[in-house]
Amino acid sequence: MIEFVSPTLDYALLAPILIVLGGAVLGVLIEAFAPRKSRASSQLFITLATLVLSLVSLIRVRDRSSSAAAMESVTFDGAGMLIQGSILIISIISVFLLADQENFTALAAALPGSDEERASLQQDLRVTEIYPLTLFAVAGMMLFPVATDLITLFVALEVLSLPLYLLAGLSRRRRLMSQEAALKYFLLGAFASAFFLMGIAYLYGYSSSVTFAGIHSAVIGGSGNDIYLLLGIAFISVGLLFKVGAVPFHAWSPDVYQGAPTAVTALMAAATKVAAFGAMLRIFYVSFAEAYWQWRPAIIAIALITMVFGSLVAIAQRDVKRMLAYSSIAHAGFLLSGVVALSKSGLESSIFYLFAYGIATVGAFGVVTLVRDSAGEVTDLNRWSGLGKRSPWVATAFAGFLLAFAGIPLTSGFIGKFSIFSAAYESGSTAILITGVLSSAIAAFFYIRVIVLMFFKDPVEDGTSVVIPSIYTQITITVSAVATFALGIYPTPLINFIQSSAAFLR
């Protein structure tokens, strides 16, 4: 008979997560009780307030680090804090995109094209559930990278995934596509998490422990059955690689990115990637580090394939959102090189890259929400031609983000690429350096093509126009643009900060 030890919780450290969850619950209550009119505004307010509050509380505890916050099941350390911080900041700026009601269906339950839907549109109904859903997802994302036992990891994964499945299906226009995206995301996500769970099982079987620390010591001890470890690492990786969208587990992302409401896509592409990579870094750095000779070749291979595949396919895309999706696949490849680096500089550069990339991504999708015609967003690239003439500033901002993706100097992307590749090379993998550089060259090809479309082609007169950005969207785009260039020109403060605090507590 095992006697029950009452858990001791360090609420100060847990606060950031708890606050977000609390905000989410509050949101649900509002859905239940508040009058329909006031919901939108109050929900937005609560969401923002929650996130900001959570950020503040995170900053308050930034230099504490402990693995005992919740009985070993979550560990707060520099790296974790940084990742959580990035997630929060990215979420805040992408929430502004959510606020733009054009993005979401009026009544999720209504049939596409039914009178019901038309009525709901006329009444100008709005699904305000998106806010609590988002908060839940964010909570999951924040938990994911700090979880240090497999249960919490799994729960966090589901908590961040389930709301996203739903959000993906709530687009206002092209609802069939949106719902299809939701279905695909859900089925494949569940499929992947099944693998994930199986991985958990095997790791547990290997180490007879569910905590990272336990697994780590088991790996060192080498007592367990290596087959289990092998299967465990493989299955866990499947789950994680699926989330980050690495080849060949990437297939969902282009479809989902395209189908989902652009605001949600932004959140997925940016925040989810950060969270997933956070978790991946932690489990590989903390638990599997000593077994690196087993998994590293495989992960390197996947990284290379991912870079090249993403870049190549992106060239052939005709749709902005799909193009960005594939480019994000390519970036997943670059980020994986941070994972395989398995060094302090690898960790630091990954965190910087994640943050920079996330910000730029949100900004880019923010721009996408602006280019519309009567039937909603225009994502067909050919109809983007001449954007630079119509609305120079929006086009310039987008160009800026693209240059950042391409890694042109004086944008954040360049610093990120430089640091992450040098980290990978430092840890001795020349292949990643060469392939990374070459695929960046390929990638440049399509980023530039978009710039050419926007600036050097004449506008097509087919009603495509750039709507006057709502104040929210403006904030999003401006903030991301400024951040992107600031981090490109003078990244020192951030880098120093990351260097000083980025470390995993084992």
Binding site: L188, V238, V247, P297, A298, V313
Partner: protein, 629 residues
């Protein structure tokens, strides 16, 4: 060596003239030609002063230099912009400025109807300046500047009427063929620097003794290439004929008296190189001999008076080159012939110009005839020039050419025999074609139709002709008397003892004169005593035809260089687009293609995605498995 700060004015005056006329533009139209003439004359005056000073000094003290400024100085490669005036260059200075001034004067009237006269005089002054720099530079690199400078001037002057496409082409041809020569000169300079570490005349001279013969030969051959290009010697002679496109005074000054003789100057100036490189020297002689006959033969076939004279120039320069290839024995005579030739050939060209002036620019001698009566002065001056060139004593040509023939014969052995006979044969042919020119133009019955009104040229034109003709009468004797000229130049060369005399001079002169007599006789029989029709006869021997086509020189060049060149060019243009750039475009296409191919993996079916994941998982397990075990 003594320095003399006056030298720069020799060049500065005409250079100033050129710049002033070019920069002021139309403003200077009124007085431009006067300024230019004044500048040229001034330069001549300076030259005379320098000469008088030089005469006062001891033989070995005569050379003077002037350092203007440091031009290029990198590592051990140091070249000053500095001038050297010695017994050799002074001759050229006086020839250039003297004849030059006369031709300026002549041109004032000759070009009076041309609205671009100012530009013409600017070019003339530019040429004078460049040519002076050529002969005054104290190092091969300074010489190079003048060398290409005169090339530029001649390009501009040949193409002076470049609105006529043919003329424009002629000027281009001249420049390009000269460039080939210039290439030789730059090779020579490079070799000199690489082997001797210096490019100045004095430097090379002093090293010439202990440098390897191979190096000296290389330098010598390259210098010869340069000379060949500039002096229209075989095989780079083709441009001279076309160069007659330029106004006649230009032909007189540049393409008869001065520029084309620069090659001779270069070889004589580089005597120390050739003395140390017998092989190169032999080549020089051969080139000279070939060209001598080559030009002479062409000369026999030409009906265009200027082209005939041009051919004769080519042949006469052949004489000089040949002489300069004979070593110390010949240098002096080469220069001597150069000077006398300067007088009589310039004079004859001016005569030709005056004839054309009187015949509405008709150049075909078959449309002349009997002009003796209509332009007596021209006839007389041209006639004196004629006597000079064919070498009738006591006219200038006799002395200079006779010396060359003599030296050639005395070159010793088979070489001597061959060269001697070549030069003698040349003398005969020269006599023939020059007589032909005289007859066709002046003494034969008239063949021009009546809308022609031949008339004597104005004084401004015939005065220079007269002066030059005087020169062509007396200059030879003056230079010959008591071997004056030989002694004048001697300090510059290293005498290698006396040569064996194959034949006594008097016999040689006799031989020469007989050859000349034969030539003249044939010409008289063939033209004076027989009917000449005013169009070139068609039914002529293959040889004549070939001679008329300049011994196929252009055909050869086209076949050997032009067409292949064009072929290469067009081929490369294609290659650049299809292969080089094509490869680049190909890479782009490849990327795009593979992109669209991979794109197809995204079928849109959930189940296929699931399959991908499954495969991925399996692969992952396999990979880790492989590594682990």
């Amino acid at each position: 060596m003594a320095t003399n700060n006056g030298l720069v004015y020799l060049i500065a005056l005409p250079l100033f003239g050129a710049l002033a006329l070019l920069l002021l533009g139309r403003k200077a139209d009124k007085w431009g030609h006067l300024l230019a003439t004044a500048m040229s004359a001034g330069s001549f005056a300076v030259g005379l002063i320098q000469l008088s000073q030089m005469l006062d000094r001891e033989a070995e003290l005569r050379p003077v230099t002037q350092k203007l400024f440091t031009w290029i100085s990198v590592g051990s490669f140091n070249v000053d912009a500095s001038l050297l005036l010695d017994q050799l260059s002074i001759c050229f200075v006086l020839l250039i400025t003297g004849v030059g001034t006369l031709i300026h004067i002549y041109s004032i009237s000759y070009m009076s109807h041309d609205k671009d006269r100012r530009r013409f005089f600017a070019y003339l002054n530019l040429f004078i300046a460049a040519m002076l720099l050529l002969v005054l530079g104290d190092s091969y690199l300074n010489l190079y500047v003048g060398w290409e400078g005169v090339g530029l001037a001649s390009y501009l002057l040949i193409g002076f009427w470049n609105q006529k496409p043919a003329y424009a082409t002629a000027s281009k041809k001249a420049f390009v063929m000269n460039r080939i020569g210039d290439m030789g000169l730059s090779f020579a300079i490079m070799i000199a620097f690489a082997t001797l570490g210096t490019v100045s005349f004095s430097g090379v001279k002093e090293h010439s003794h202990h440098a390897s013969e191979a190096a000296m030969t290389a330098i010598g051959v390259m210098l010869l290439v340069a000379a060949v290009g500039k002096s229209a010697q075989f095989p780079l002679q083709a441009w001279l004929g076309d160069a007659m496109a330029g106004p006649t005074p230009v032909s007189a000054l540049i393409h008869a008296a001065t520029m084309v003789t620069a090659g001779v100057y270069l070889i004589v100036r580089s005597n120390f190189v050739f003395d140390a490189a017998p092989t190169a020297q032999l080549l020089v002689v051969i080139v000279g001999a070939i060209t001598l006959l080559f030009g002479a033969i062409i000369g026999m076939a030409k009906d265009d008076i200027k082209k005939a004279l041009a051919a004769s120039t080519m042949s006469q320069i052949g004489y000089m080159i040949l002489a300069s290839g004979l070593g110390p024995a010949g240098y002096a005579f080469a220069i001597m012939h150069l000077l006398t030739h300067g007088f009589f050939k310039a004079g004859m060209f001016l005569g030709a110009g005056s004839v054309m002036h009187g015949m509405n620019d008709e150049v075909n001698m078959r449309k002349y005839g009997g002009l003796r009566k209509f332009m007596p002065i021209t006839f007389v001056t041209f006639g004196l020039g004629y006597l000079a060139i064919i070498g009738v004593p006591p006219f200038a040509g006799f002395y200079s050419k006779d010396m060359i023939i003599e030296t050639a014969l005395n070159a010793g052995g088979a070489k001597g025999i061959i060269l001697g006979s070549v030069t003698l044969l040349g003398a005969a042919i020269t006599a023939f074609y020059m007589t032909r020119v005289m007859i066709l133009t002046f003494t034969s019955p008239k063949r021009w139709d009546d809308n022609q009104h031949p008339h004597e040229s104005p004084a401004l034109m015939w005065i220079p002709m007269v002066i030059l003709s005087i020169g062509s009468v007396i200059s030879g004797y003056l230079l010959y008397r008591g071997k004056a000229f030989k002694h004048w130049l001697e300090p510059l060369f290293e005498e290698h003892g006396e040569h064996t005399e194959l034949l006594p001079p008097i016999v040689v002169s006799g031989l020469a004169l007989t050859m000349v007599a034969i030539g003249v006789a044939i010409a008289v029989i063939k033209y004076q005593l027989s009917e000449i029709d005013n169009v070139a006869p068609e039914k002529v021997s293959i040889f004549t035809r070939i001679a008329r086509r300049d011994l196929l020189q252009d055909d050869v060049n086209e076949a050997l260089f032009m067409r292949p060149g064009q072929a290469i060019t067009s081929a490369l243009v294609k290659i650049d687009d299809s292969v080089v750039d094509g490869a680049v475009r190909g890479v782009g296409k490849m990327a795009l293609g593979s992109g669209s191919a991979l794109r197809e993996t995204q079928t849109g079916f959930v189940r296929s995605y699931a399959v991908l994941i499954l495969i991925g998982a399996a692969a992952l397990i396999a990979a880790i498995w492989v590594v682990t075990t």
